[in-house]
Structures are given as C-alpha cells and as structure tokens.
Symmetry: C2
Subunit: 202 residues, 2 copies
C-alpha cells in the first residue's frame, strides 16, 4: 500500500500548512497518511538548531507562512503564539489521540485553534475547545496524556523520527526517503506514487 509518514510537532509554525493541505492532496494521489506527532525540540537540540534565538529567521518564517497560506488559499490571521505547548501536553494528548484513532481530527482542530483563534496549545482553553466537539472527556484525556504510556509513546515516535534523519517539522518519509518542509509535500507525494523512479539517482 502506498503510504506516507507525516512527522510534525504541535507548535511548529510551518506544520500548519501541511496539516491543512495533506489530507486532500494525499486522497487525490491515493496515498495513505500516518499522522505521527513527535518531539521536534529534542531533535532540534541534538542538531544544535535553536530557532528561538534566530531572530531574522523567525521573522521571515511568519511572513513566509503568510505568503504561502495565501498561495494555497488557506486562512491566515496573524502569527500565532510561539513558542507554545511548553510542557508538551498538547503533543502528549496527540499520543492519546493516535492510540485512539482520532489524531488527524485532533491535529487539524488544534492547528486551527492555534493559528486562527489565538489559542495557546496545551492550555486548558485549547483542550476544552478541541476535545469537547470531538466527544472526548477533557479530564480523562488529560489524565491519559499525563500517564507514563503517553510520555513513552512520544519518546518512541521521536526516536523513529531521528532514525529517519529528521531534524525539523514538518517532515515526510516515503519508503525510507525523508523530505523536510511543507514545500516538499508535493515532492514526497510524487515519490510515493512512483515518481521516485524518475528522480532517484542511487
């Protein structure tokens, strides 16, 4: 089966574009997507990437996301609260969601709340806003997200990302080939549909 692994972090600025785009694009291409949130902070630290201190780059990022959102006809209001999810609670809730089969819905609604409604990820307000319409018990989900299994799953998913050579979010893996950045989404999907035969060198 044609499959693409979608690695992202709840709180990654550029991931917004992919979260909003990947569903329809993958469906059109006949590709199944595995939504795999991971802790990008760990792998960025391991790679000496300190985005928060890269002033010009951060300023550029929000302008670039704004332009690209317009290009892709996606809504954009303002640069979102960033950094966000300091305790990784939103990302550990994603582990619960992945375990339960509702990670895609949770992710899309979370990115919308973060980007379009000015919510900080991991705040009680974020979780209530997103989990209730999904029919989830907010306190029960938070309790699960704080249990050892969710911590362990996040660590394992981060290990998997590292194994694929991932150092940032979003990233896509197709048959062991890694692509970094929303601007490589189409290329990753092409690769998954056989384009790799045209493009691969060795």
């Amino acid at each position: 089966m044609r499959q693409l692994e979608f690695f992202y972090f709840l709180g990654s600025g550029y991931a917004y574009l992919s979260v909003m785009r990947i569903g329809p694009l993958a469906r059109d291409a006949g590709i199944t997507v595995r939504w795999r949130p991971f802790n990008v902070r760990t792998v960025m630290a391991e790679n000496n990437i300190a985005l928060r201190s890269q002033t010009a780059k951060v300023k550029y990022m929000w302008r670039d996301v704004q332009r690209r959102a317009r290009t892709h006809a996606l809504p954009f209001v303002n640069a979102p609260i960033w950094p966000t999810d300091p305790d990784l609670l939103a990302n550990r809730v994603a582990m619960v969601a992945a375990e339960g089969g509702w990670c895609e819905d949770y992710t899309i609604e979370s990115f919308k709340a973060w980007y379009l409604e000015g919510v900080a990820l991991g705040d009680r307000a974020h979780l209530e806003h997103v989990l209730r319409p999904l029919g989830k018990d907010v306190d029960a989900v938070i309790a699960q997200a704080n249990a050892p299994a969710a911590h362990e799953r996040l660590k394992m998913e981060t290990d998997a990302a590292r194994e694929y050579g991932i150092f940032g979010s979003p990233a896509f893996v197709v048959n062991g080939e890694t692509f970094w950045g929303d601007d490589r989404l189409e290329e990753a999907l092409s690769w998954a549909t056989g384009r790799r035969r045209l493009q691969d060198v060795h």
Copy 2:
C-alpha cells in the same frame, strides 16, 4: 524595470541550484537579475545558525540537492567539498567580478568547478581554472581581491543582505520582499511579475 536581487555565497550548497537556474527563468519572465554575492557566514553567525554542527541537516541537504538537481535536470556528481573558501578569496574575487561586470559568468563557472569537478573554492586551482577562460589575469585579479576595496565591498553587500532580513543563501529580494531558498525562486519571480498583487495580504 522589473528587477530581482539575487543574494548568494560562493560555497553555499543550495545556491548551486539557483545559480544554474536563475538565468533562463528570469529571462523568460522578463526580469533583470542583480547578482550580489555576500558573506553568509557573518549573518548566519549573527542568527546563531551553525550549519556545520547540524549533522542530520547537512546530510539531508546533500541528498535534497541531489534530488532537486535531478528534478531540474541539472548535473550532480557528488556532494562538493564543504565547507570551502575558508579565507573568502573566491567571494572577494566575486567582488572584483561584480565591479567589472563579469560576476554572473564567474559565479556559474565557479559553481560548476566546485560541484562537478571537485575543486575547492578559493584554491589557486579553482581561480586558474575559472579566470583564464574568462580572459582574466589570475595574479592581477587575486591582487585586486586582496585589496581593501574588495574587502569593503563584501562587507557592504553583507550589510545590504542583513538590511533585507537575509539569514541564509540563496535569497531573493523583489521590491523589498525577501525570499529564502532555491525553492522560493519561482515565487520570487512571480512576485516580480505582479503575482504579488494576488498574494500580498498587507
């Protein structure tokens, strides 16, 4: 006149793709390109970007360049010698070339020598290989590149890049709007041809 400022560094891995692509694309779009080499090391250091120590990212970069070269039907042999041009001599020769009006030719031939023939930029072998076919006196050009005016011009071009919020190479500036990365070349050219009216938000 429709113009695009092309900021790049001789020794930047991704700049190869833009150096090889920008001429025909800009001609087709009716855009004049100003070739503006600058010292990317200075602005990367100012932005706490230490690519050399970002192991996974560097590994990814060469694979990504290889894939993108294939996509754009550009030659690719191996990852080039990197880092290169330790004393910035190749970049200061580019200042002499810009002053003399032969920066585009010098840049294209230098990237070809670096990527396709395994030459280290700034080495005597590189400069002889590239400058002689351009009809230049190698020793005279090196003397000019070591004179204060070339150092000063490189500093001024780097200041100009910084003013535009540039933190990496390659980058493109159109009417004060900055685009970073070879994958934004088409977007920058579209912007220069009026697409900005469709895309601009504020």
